[in-house]
Amino acid sequence: MQWRQWLRQILDPSASFQEQTFTLGDRGQQPAAEEQGPFRLKDAEARTQRVLTHIDSILEAVPLGEAAMKKAGDLTPDLDENRRRLEALFRMPENKDLIIRELQVATQPPTRAVVCFMEGLSDKTIINRDILQPLMLLAHLDHHLDGQRESGPTQFTVDVIIQRLLPGHQVSEKHSLKEVAEALLMGDTVLLFEGQRTAITVETKEPPVRSISEPKSEQSIQGPHDSFVEAFRMNVAMIRRRLKDPRVVTEILTVGQVSSTFVALMYIDGIVNPKLVAEVKQRVDGIKVDTLNDVGVLAQFIEDAPASLMPGSLTTERPDRAAAYLAEGHVALIVDNSPYALIFPITFWSLLQTSEDYYLRFPFGTFLRFSRLAALLTSLLVPAFYIALVNYHQEMLPTELMLFVAASREAVPMPAILELVIMEVTFELIREAGTRIPNVLGSAISLVASLILGQAAVEARIVSPLLIVVVAITGLASFALPNFLDSFAIRMLRFVLLIAAALLGFYGLAAGLFILILYLSSMRSMGVPYLAPLAPRMRGAADTILQPPAYTMEFRPRHVRPMDERRQKPITRPWDPRSRAAEEEPDRGGRP
């Protein structure tokens, strides 16, 4: 019959096309929802059964009192039924991730049980050594809490199992299938027993994590070299290691109906403003989403102006930086599976700072901050300034330089703005390619591409040599900005100002800058003015562009409105004669 099919394909291509091409529904197939009908019916049936079982267990618990009623769930005493429901819930047998191991607990008489865990998420050594071995081999040794052996059948209870047979460090009871599923998905091991409406979960989490490594985007010469990893518990521990204060609070919130991602909200009670904590919690609780994979997504859900070019939160991969912000009265959000912490609230100036500033002596820190401010202005303004100068205000250049610029541009047929845009776009392409190419090749290819392209562009008379200098300086300056998102925003704003300068010279540049600063002035991060503490000016303004000596920073920044404003004693160098002289000044200690 092969030849018939072949003939049919030739005579009726559309028919053969329909047979061969896989589509998801754009060729008039049956809607997927209809195909899902039987599965949905099955789910509904399972849900109804669970509800009925729940009602049964409540009715059974009513005579036993309130405590029993609280424990009433939708698990049945029938082990096989519980297992069947669990398998249905996890789409077995297609799904191979859930491992169900049936066993006999070595009680007298033996009790049937099943052990369930998720492959890859749980520690098998713990399961073998601390769950299966005690239950299957050691359960017959002693079943009684009082330690006295009795003849006859053992009274099997979940309490006996928990207290005598499971040496796990975290063991808890679960009463509903939903709780059981959640525990399994977190990596815990679940035990179900014949005749029991209660399941036992044992903490056996061992999710795949990488080891702590050096920061990738916030490197420093002086200071700690560890960075966050994807496991949020490790991240929390790294912060706690730096803040050994019982007032450090870690609240765990869950976001995402499908991903059930843990979000740790960290703050220091007694320092942080409770209004800030309440607002952050309210915003995180308000997120109704299926998955949450990274702090970047979380930031978009809770920032004041998520569409803004400028970031409204600080993303850091350094635990020391997160700890320092917590100590100042900020809050930190850590998302499971994301190697970053999200700090709220922030100001524009914090995007220009690094933790290393504080580890250096203040003249060096101040110098670094000035360098970054210069980098910011260079990155933002130099291309626009060049265009304004070349197109509108040539008289500002010294005559010799002006003649050189004119001569170098003479051979180039394109207007200066087009030259600049071409080179800027090329530079962005090189940068993007350098990021995507494997690390071993990335830097080499970027270097070769920029050198060869620049040289070739000048020789081909597409751009003038001076323009290459402008683009190179601008690109270099943008690399000096410590925050990735801030750098991104500045790169985009550069193009906006470039257009303004191309249209109206310095007038357009000034108008663009005025509007940009107005915009920044109107922004807020979790209720804090974006340009604080400089505008509005508040205490803490010294620690923005300058880097004051550590021993003079006596107060926490006012703009976060901390509950405890003082962070160190007025005299932090008591051995210093100068400090003693200052102590004798009447208003030194009491300065608000």
Binding site: Y392, H393, F506, Y507, A510, L531
Partner: protein, 366 residues
């Protein structure tokens, strides 16, 4: 946005009102003072400053009598719904006129200084865009922007003042009394309208944290403006001599053209004018915002934003009406500034009526 949105502190208020008033010194106003006083033009500025400070005192008293309220609310409370509204409309009309003339002057200045081939309408449109956005963001954002840009503006001013000091010839400041003491005194009083823009503080009174903040902002702002005006006028006379300085359409710009930093950077006036742009934008934005808020208040509207666009269209239409720059100068000198005295007197009038009718302050409390 609400009429009373935001809170301004003393430092921000002082800087804002200072920049708002001093921005005019980059235009034709120093020439007015020198024309009036001759070699004693700086004394005209001195008299004008003292008179403006005195005339602003009733406004301060009125703000303290009605704390946390704008001039629109105060006016309606004191003078009734009809007369009160009419007074505010009068002030808004004057401020609108001031915006129009200043914007046209600035446009002419920029055309001369930077963009000789650009149509005025384009420059006007760009500035109006800034005003619209500033008003949209609100008074608080304007004050913060001014604070951030203040060092740049001060650099723009100081460069002109300091780099021209070597050109000053003290002999040009004599005869000391210029056109005579009576002329200086009368001229100083007649130009007190140069500080009439300070009345916008009252229109935006609800945005100030307390009435004492408003008082500090107004008094210190006017004082600093006066000192700058005195220094600028004296410098102009010292550099050009009174007759030449009075002839300049934009005397400070001419001073800026004389700045010579070094061979590597010459003809910096375009750069300095860019710095002045910020001052001009702040000046116009504050006046524009005050007009919108004042109008909204007098019309009992809870929000001012709906008025921004119509007002912008009105300003854009009015600013192109004068035939040339001379018409602008004459209208400003002969009409707007004398009328400014009347505008400064309105708070005094309201204060008197409030005292007579026992409105506000302790009278209400009793």
């Amino acid at each position: 946005m609400n009429l009373a949105d935001g809170h301004i502190g003393s430092a921000e208020g002082v800087i804002l009102i200072y920049v708002c008033l001093a921005a005019k010194l980059f235009l034709q106003y120093p020439a007015f003072l020198i024309t009036a006083g001759g070699t004693a033009g700086w004394q005209v500025a001195l008299v004008m400053t003292v008179a403006a400070l005195i005339l602003f005192l009733p406004a301060v008293a009125l703000a303290q009598r009605f704390p946390g309220q704008g001039l629109s609310e105060i006016s309606r409370q004191v003078a009734g719904p009809f007369v009160g509204t009419a007074l505010i409309l009068l002030i808004c009309l004057w401020v609108l006129g001031a915006i129009t003339l200043t914007l046209r002057s600035i446009t002419e200045n920029f055309i001369i200084a930077m963009l000789p081939h650009t149509p005025p309408s384009v420059l006007t449109a760009a500035m109006i865009l800034c005003m619209i956005y500033a008003s949209y963001c609100g008074f608080e954002s304007m004050a913060r922007t001014t604070r951030i840009l203040f060092p740049v503006m001060i650099v723009g001013l100081l460069v002109v003042l300091l780099f021209n000091l070597p050109r000053v010839e003290a002999g040009r400041l004599f005869p000391f009394w210029g056109n005579g003491i009576p002329t200086v005194a009368v001229s100083g009083l007649s130009y007190v309208g140069m500080a009439a823009e300070a009345v916008v503080l009252l229109l935006l009174g609800a945005s100030f944290r307390t009435s004492s903040v408003l008082r500090t902002s107004g008094m210190l702002g006017i004082l600093l403006f006066g000192l700058t005006a005195i220094a600028m006028t004296a410098l102009l006379i010292g550099v050009f001599g009174a007759p030449d300085a009075a002839q300049q359409p934009f005397p400070v710009f001419t001073l800026a053209r004389l700045v010579y930093v070094g061979r590597f950077l010459q003809r910096t006036e375009a750069l300095l004018v860019m710095f002045w742009f910020f001052a001009a934008a702040v000046h116009l934005s504050v006046l524009f915002h005050a007009t919108a808020v004042g109008l909204a208040g007098s019309l009992c509207l809870p929000f001012y934003r709906p008025l921004i666009f119509p007002l912008a269209v009105l300003v854009a239409s009015l600013v192109l009406l004068p035939e040339d720059y001379m018409v602008v100068v004459r209208t400003d000198r002969d009409w707007m500034r004398p009328l400014g005295i009347g505008i400064l007197l309105i708070p005094f009038l309201l204060l008197v009526v409030a005292a007579i009718r026992r409105r506000g302050g302790t009278a209400d409390a009793s």
